[in-house]
Symmetry: C2
Subunit: 204 residues, 2 copies
């Protein structure tokens, strides 16, 4: 899509920004309701455009899902780059990652995009499944590095491989966001505190 690149490069080229508006709204709907629980019609209605306009930008729902994963991946990469630039340590990185989840929860009870897609995994188009698996792996590898570095620096304390510990932490965060919808937001903040205790982090 050379035209898209052109628009992205030159601000004057983007007259409406419809594509970006669809992506932002769809990510919201995905996190708040799930991939199978929103339709092109919902997006069109809330954006004041026609359904076919959504299909123009994202021909099939699989295309939209793929773009959503790519969009979320970009957001994560930007966050990671910003953290690295300001020299964030393992504790900053872990707490920053937790803060992202907490922000989701407070923003209308949203969940992690990957957690939502994994919950609906069986009904996802195969290409979307592969994209989810790939990003999921990337996030876990990043966090495993954070955990290992933190343990080496004496900031975290835990038994077993960091690759196993990261599974507990990401599963807790994703599952905890879902549980918080039924059990209340406090359940999630209490869970976060417990996750820190389980890493030997002593709170002031």
């Amino acid at each position: 899509m050379p035209a898209t690149q052109l628009r992205a490069a030159s601000p004057t080229g983007s007259r409406t920004g419809t594509r970006e508006a669809i992506l932002a709204l769809a990510l919201d709907l995905l996190q708040a309701r799930g991939f199978n629980a929103f339709s092109y019609q919902h997006i069109a209605d809330r954006l004041g455009i026609r359904k076919a306009a959504v299909h123009y930008h994202f021909p099939t729902k699989a295309d939209l899902g793929l773009a959503l994963v790519a969009h979320y991946r970009t957001q994560f990469e930007d966050w990671r780059a910003a953290q690295m630039e300001k020299g964030a340590g393992p504790l900053d990185l872990l707490r920053g990652y937790m803060a992202i989840s907490l922000h989701f929860l407070r923003d209308g009870g949203k969940a992690c995009p990957l957690g939502v897609l994994e919950a609906e995994f069986a009904s996802l188009p195969p290409p979307l499944r592969e994209a989810v698996t790939a990003l999921d792996t990337e996030l876990r590898e990043f966090l495993a590095g954070v955990l290992e570095a933190g343990r080496g620096a004496g900031i975290f304390r835990f038994d077993g491989p960091a690759a196993d510990k990261v599974l507990v932490i990401t599963a807790s965060l994703q599952g905890g966001l879902h549980i918080a919808r039924a059990a209340g937001a406090r359940s999630f903040t209490r869970m976060l505190r417990q996750l820190e205790r389980d890493l030997g982090i002593t709170n002031d």
Copy 2:
């Protein structure tokens, strides 16, 4: 539902067992695909009956969802009663609970019914939401008791309130079952081992 009680009480009263077959299949579909991802038509097709027959037993999908939660609750109560009868200790109970999750995963990559319903919480009929919250609370209270008893007996070792630790464990189990679909079944068994390590359980 007097008819249900009658059929359940007197085996001769149940000629076909259609109601039970619907419940069993619907629970399967719920765990494997999600509440919004199966339809009355799916159930009817796989059971060799008509869609209206499903509506006869469960007029609306909310009714079916409510029955599903009640059904799962009964299964849990039966399991708990059986464990209590054979004098299971905290470690048996915790591992038994983990084994249920592992059994779900191996039975076609199914997830915890409550975890699935919580992931779709926003699109659930309000009565169903309340039933989910109630059962979720019950399960957590049970497990918190197990954790506290185990800590008192020197079997488990963890910091903080058992009510917080149970949030980490249930969120891990529910989230871990979803993640396993994208990351593979091994990720779940490794996560289970880490959960045990985080409780100070030393494996042979």
